[in-house]
Structures are given as C-alpha cells and as structure tokens.
Symmetry: C2
Subunit: 195 residues, 2 copies
C-alpha cells in the first residue's frame, strides 16, 4: 500500500488528509495473483481497476486461429483493466493474466466512482492518468502506421526497455504486431550491425 501512496504523491501535488488515506485503504483491496492466472477473461465484465504493486501482466485478445494479440503490458506502478468494459459495463473481449506472480491493489467500479468524487487528489490523479494515457496512445498509433517492424522494435527498446527485459520475445513480437520469427531476424540483424 505504501508503494501506491508514493505513486499518488508523485503524480499529484494535492495533499491527502489522514481521513482520506483511511478511505483509500478501505477501498483498495490487496490481491495476489500467480503466474498464468487470469485477472479478466473474455466474456466477463471488468468490474475492478487494478494497480500493480509487484509483478507483470498482459492484456490480449485471442483470434479465430488461437493466436494471441497483446495490446498492453503492465508492471509495477501501472494500472490494468479493460477500460471500455470497466467504464461502460460492457462484456470484455480481452483477457488479462499474470506473467509473473503479482500483487495488486484492486478497487471496485462503485468505490472508484465514489472516491473520485470525495477525494480531490484522486480526481487530479485520474485526469493525469488519462492525459498520460492519451499521449502514449497517440504515440503508439503513430508508430504503428508510420514505422517498419524494425523501427517499431528499436523504438520500444529505447522507450520501454523494461518490457523487453521482463516479457519473452514472442510476446514482444505480439505487442509489436509482428511474427516471432520476424522479430528474431530483426534482432539478429540489429546485432550484426553493431558488429
């Protein structure tokens, strides 16, 4: 829980009262989840928002052929949820599962709604999260339509090395929208270029 409070303080200047801290502690429930365990399955409604205090998770779809397509990775200090399902109460088409044993702080939709109204700092935090999310999404979209497979990989290596270190190569390939074989070849070439 300390991790989370530090995170809040880092992203909002607004002070938080003792009372508010207690209220947050009541709303966010710690949860442990083991490797390969699901946090959300396709067909479910996503009722919780999860803050990752430890571990690594991924959000993905599975297509007709059984191939997984990863849309999002999450590690410490990231939030996980299917935003669409969470906000609209719709059935999710995504799966979220743990790639490492993980620890989360989960809040139910109703409590999240309540807390954003009663605690000013949380409203600011939400706005800040949304802003960062929007900027990141814009960049990823731009990368997807303008860059080649190799450029996208190098871009990720530069801007999100943590993901590349913690997830296996086939998942990185899926996130980049390329086949594992192609990524393997790209890495080989990049390596050869640096002698």
């Amino acid at each position: 829980m300390e991790t989370f409070f530090n995170y809040i303080r880092r992203y909002t200047e607004h002070p938080i009262s003792e009372e508010e801290l207690l209220s947050l502690q009541g709303a966010f429930k710690p949860r442990k989840i083991r490797k390969r365990q699901y946090l959300l399955q396709e067909g479910d409604v996503c009722r919780h928002l999860s803050f990752i205090t430890k571990g690594a998770l991924r959000q993905y779809t599975v297509d007709d052929k059984g191939v997984e397509h990863i849309v999002q990775f999450g590690i410490e200090d990231w939030w996980m949820s299917d935003r669409e399902s969470f906000e609209l109460g719709s059935v999710s088409s995504y799966n979220i599962d743990a790639w490492e044993d993980s620890e989360l702080l989960q809040i139910h939709y109703d409590d999240w709604w309540e807390i954003r109204h009663s605690i000013p700092a949380m409203r600011i935090l939400t706005a800040e999260m949304d802003k960062r999310h929007a900027v990141a999404a814009q960049k990823r979209i731009h990368a997807a339509i303008t860059l080649t497979a190799e450029e996208r990989y190098l871009d990720m290596l530069k801007h999100q090395p943590a993901f590349i270190q913690r997830f296996p190569q086939n998942m990185i390939a899926s996130y980049l929208g390329i086949s594992p074989e192609t990524l393997s070849r790209i890495r080989k070439q990049a390596y050869l270029k640096n002698e």
Copy 2:
C-alpha cells in the same frame, strides 16, 4: 456556438447556469479557417483546443521523404489539438490543417484550465471525452496490430463511414497506414466480391 452547447448537453447531465454559459461564451472564440490553411505547424506549441462546428481537418506528420502520415481526422463535433503539446507545452511534431473550409471554437490553454475548475459540467465533459478517447485509441491500436490492410479498411468503412465520404482516398490510405495503390486495389477486390 449553439452547436457547441448542444454538444455539451448531450455529453453531460450536469446543468449549466446562465452565468456559466456566459463564461463559456467568453472563453471560446469563433474562428474560420479556409481549406489548406494551417491550424498548427510542426515546431509550434499547441496553445489552443479547437472544437469543430463545421468543416473537416486532419492531423499528420511529414517524414524524411516528404510523405504525410495522418494520425487523426476531425469533423463536426470533434476536438482538434496535439494533446501532448497542448498539455505539456512541448513543441509539436504534428501539423493540423483544414481539408474543407471550417469553423471552430477555440479556447486558450489557460482559459481551458480555468473553466474546468470553475464549471462542474466542463469537468464532467472532459472526463467523458478522455474516456471515449481512451476507448477509441485502444480499438485503433488493436486494429493496427491484429488486422490486415483490407480488414482495417472494412473496419473503418463500418465504424467511421463519415471520414471515408469526406476525405480523399489517398488520405484514408495514409490514416490506415497503407499506400494509396494498395487501398485502390483493396477497394477493387471488395467491389468485385459483391459482384
């Protein structure tokens, strides 16, 4: 301005007082912009947020080879800005220009900040916009990494037919991240399939 007020009422249940309406009228300045005129140029800082009351605009980058890459279209009831530059005050790497003669309501960053604090309905509106934006971005990212060029075009035809009607084919191709020639061939094939 009426268009805009209707838009606000459509997306927020929160009532707006007479006083607040006046305050909004003061903050949003009408602006006309002619076809091919720039709203934002690469290298500028994006100081305004623009609500489109009439017309069609696009946001894009230009690469080393002079090729344009469109990341966003905007028509009536859409907002245009480089979110990153607008929120962070950083130099923009995007261009925004008008494809049709257009009419906008522009608000300066400072006023936007102010109005979101003083008018509850605007705070709700912002949250709602961010939510929709996040959901749309997630979908577009998913489409980019999972779908083929043809599937992406058909997806767009289904979900955003307005764009396809109002922008020329080479711009649609750019938005989809494919060459104009490929889009031309995809359309021919799709047409042949329907006899």
